[in-house]
Assembly symmetry: C2
Amino acid sequence: MASSIGMIGGTGPEGKGLAARFARAGLEVIIGSRSAERGEEAATDVRGIAGGKVRGGTNADAAGADVIVITLPYSGQAETLEGLRDQIGDKLVVSTVVPMQFAAGKVTMLQIEDGSAAEETQRILPEAHVVGAFQNLAARKLFDVEHELDGDVIVCSDDKEALRQVIWLTEQIPGLRGVNGGPLASSRYVEGITTLLVHINRNYKTESHVKIVGI
Amino acid sequence: MASSIGMIGGTGPEGKGLAARFARAGLEVIIGSRSAERGEEAATDVRGIAGGKVRGGTNADAAGADVIVITLPYSGQAETLEGLRDQIGDKLVVSTVVPMQFAAGKVTMLQIEDGSAAEETQRILPEAHVVGAFQNLAARKLFDVEHELDGDVIVCSDDKEALRQVIWLTEQIPGLRGVNGGPLASSRYVEGITTLLVHINRNYKTESHVKIVGI
């Protein structure tokens, strides 16, 4: 199915972690950044630990891939995606973004007018086939490619074929299962789970995942 | 610890299901309702399947218990709790309420000014020690007391001792584990998970639970 994956804002921990897992799965990965140099640096890091076909470039370079994965911080999402609308067009776009705010030691979700970061992405990229996924995975565990994962990725979209493709993409990563979470509007609950996991991780000094039991 | 549990609005599927599990665990349960007769009917049903010390009565009767568990529909929460403020006082109060709306085949969360049903309960009962818990359990599986449960109950409170007591209470039910989800404000994410599970259950024609892996 997908032959290349472009990571928009792929130089942070979540972007590099997912890139490493996709590269391990044999997919071609382009790590995009505002600066091509930083994209290339991140690609060198990822190749170093995961091998595979990983290159770096600008976000526009990454937007040329078959499937676009957004790993931007929420604060940079609107501006960056508006600048890539034409390159992205009607491609499959995966939103991993969680609109979390860390302030005075407290973690909370930002109030998003569209309901979720994923729905905001759909509004900014009206022709794209937007899917919410991968929001709940701990970046450090993703990047540690020798660590076996064990968790569910809840996948939400209004487009059944796009949802099916992202479940397939999820299951290229050993230890992960894609779970159909329903419409794109359900992404708000999945994004919320990440905030909850931050609290749980603090309480138990761990990096936890979520699993849906009974399906 | 808790010697009696009072279920406010305990005649619905969630209330009867939890009451059955608490009764099986050897706890004394009072099922409250607007009408004492309906409370008694529900108690007869629960005793029939679970045995134990279960009696019915009004919501005010249930509010006399050591620990108060709220299993009201969200629409009835504010009015009912305002009428019980004095009886409840500074007791331990567990909110299981999910502010879900079913309209035109779609499931969504209501926008709650306080952030969650649990935080609204804390505002209405300012002296109570409010804890959010048990929102994500499928009612039918709870009531089927021969069915072995396997899931996590995410417990949220600003009061550490209350949180500890509700984790204890959770673990009186075989197969359930209590997980410290952080402050009461985290309840909004836990309530959201229920809405997500409704979507997942529709997609997979099942009744799913949630588990936190890695703690």
